[in-house]
Symmetry: C2
Subunit: 328 residues, 2 copies
């Protein structure tokens, strides 16, 4: 830092201010310092700073699958907030494997992260996360609630959003509405099914379990199960797809069959509006989920010891065409 | 570890084998050790291990935008290889800002990463990366070549792939073929334009600069520029879109105008096959790019000092309908 200060012809204090981004410095000086830093190949030694400050300036994010657009958008938003706080981001995908998720928690924690944002994998041992909390690692749960751990959470109103989608189909005259959701053990899939059932009950429509399919949208056999649902004696005239993966799969299967069933999907997805017909959705805002979770985490890291926050974001119905088809 | 060994009723050596995953252990013992680890909330102290072994067991990945499906798929593949090597992954998006990219390199490097996979942002100071290489940080460049740094690279055959797309349109009888690519300063955009021009030249077709548009597909004004290209006196009958973002935008704009121009896009994208007409593409394999880059990096970390490798992956033409439309 002495060399940088000398080369840039500024005080050591000015170099420190530019490097840490803590206080304002005149633009001319900042430019000189930045140039000197590049010139000298100087790098702030984060590891040394860690030892001094007891922080790694690193946070962790454990999600289900980084390649899923919902999670990559969420991760990008977390990254942006972390960047603004001069923190780096460790990202890991649990691939919905509880043992892998536990291993990731221990692995990231062992690297001394300051905090962790996590979508807990179904079946995780709650003690693994409880141990992190006790060890002083700030935790924020996203997309699914905490399991046996008292921590901040950012969730989406899965029940309310799904119910709004079902009410929209009911208002269009549909009575035989199917629900096609992800594996029944997943929190979000369960919640959305409950929202579907509640909306039917409120409308006085008896539930029919032949109209409910809970299965992994990525599994080949799920396609056949869906076609069997369509082929029953008294088939559905409308479908509520429980997530973006199912919406995409349903669009493909309906097209393959040439059937014009009404469709509302939970989760928006790219090109939903460019399909024929454009797909009506109940849209979550994954970037808002990520941003709020990260802001919550950094407020805790900054010393906020207020009561736990449980934020629930709304989901928005976007009619585009597929959900406005009349019953056959 | 002593407590784990005692609780699991195995030797200290067995615990070590399970934790490090280095040697095989009987399934029964492994299960007991894992259970004892969970029971005791034991965590392998990575930081202590770092100090002993001189490694952070962490690698860095700097890409343009984690929310872009091309990069999130690439990142997911890198993560999987890192996970298999017991490494965690720091992910950062440069947002195509060279100063931010330089800052990220210094920031990740300061955290003591073992290696870095990077898509260099246009305009980065090459000295920042050269300094990392000299400091012993293994570097692999992906998607764009290294700038003034001798390092391993994994690229896609942008010229050859684009030329194949243009030849496909020429074979369909098109002579007025437009190229719509990203900002001219981007390496991949430049390369794809060259591939387009080469294919035309080989076919003996004179280039017409009125048929070339280089602009950021995310900018609102790019849409107007594209429509102006369509509205010229002698309009194109076919379009080669230079990346997935432009393909999506072109699909929307053509639909808005109700024009049936032929289209081949560089990059595959989700639902390309479900659009009407299904979009023909020249497909890259971002997961293969990420996997190969990560494997290259870990072979270097394992001590491979062989000559620099420059891997170029092919791109595959997938005809689906939009690229097979006849000229009007």
């Amino acid at each position: 830092m002495n060399d940088v200060a000398k080369l840039a012809d500024v005080s050591l204090k000015t170099v420190s201010r530019v490097v840490n981004g803590t206080e304002s410095v005149s633009a001319a000086k900042a430019v000189r310092v930045e140039a000197a830093i590049r010139e000298l190949g100087f790098r702030r030694n984060e590891q040394a700073r860690q030892l001094r400050q007891g922080t790694t300036a690193t946070i962790g994010l454990i999600i289900e699958d980084l390649a899923d657009p919902f999670y990559s958008t969420l991760a990008r938003a977390v990254e942006e907030v972390a960047h603004a706080h001069h923190h780096a981001l460790l990202v890991s995908s649990s691939a919905e494997d509880p043992r892998r998720a536990e291993e990731l928690v221990r692995s990231l924690s062992g690297r001394g992260i300051d905090g962790l944002i996590i979508t807990p994998a179904e079946g995780m041992d709650p003690r693994v996360l409880a141990a992190e909390g006790e060890a002083g690692c700030s935790l924020v749960f996203v997309d699914r609630p905490s399991v046996d751990v008292d921590a901040d959470t950012v969730l989406v109103d899965n029940r309310g959003g799904t119910a709004a989608g079902v009410r929209h189909l009911l208002a269009g005259g549909h009575r035989r509405i199917a629900f096609v959701g992800d594996t029944a053990s997943l929190y979000t899939a369960q919640e959305r099914r409950i929202g579907y059932l509640e909306a039917l009950e409120t409308a006085g429509i008896e539930r029919d379990d032949n109209l409910v399919l809970m299965a992994n949208p990525a599994a080949p056999e799920s396609g056949e199960a869906f076609l069997a649902l369509l082929d029953q004696a008294d088939p559905p005239t409308a479908i509520l797809a429980g997530n973006n993966r199912w919406s995409v799969r349903v669009v493909r299967l309906l097209r393959q069959r040439g059937i014009g069933v009404a469709l509302v999907g939970f989760d928006d997805f790219e090109l939903a509006d460019a399909l024929e017909p454009p797909v009506s959705v109940v849209a979550q805002d994954p970037a808002a989920v990520g941003r709020l979770a990260a802001e919550l985490l950094f407020s805790r890291l900054a010393g906020d010891t207020g009561p736990r926050q449980h934020i629930q974001l709304g989901a928005t119905l976007i009619p585009r065409g597929s959900g406005e088809r009349a019953p056959r």
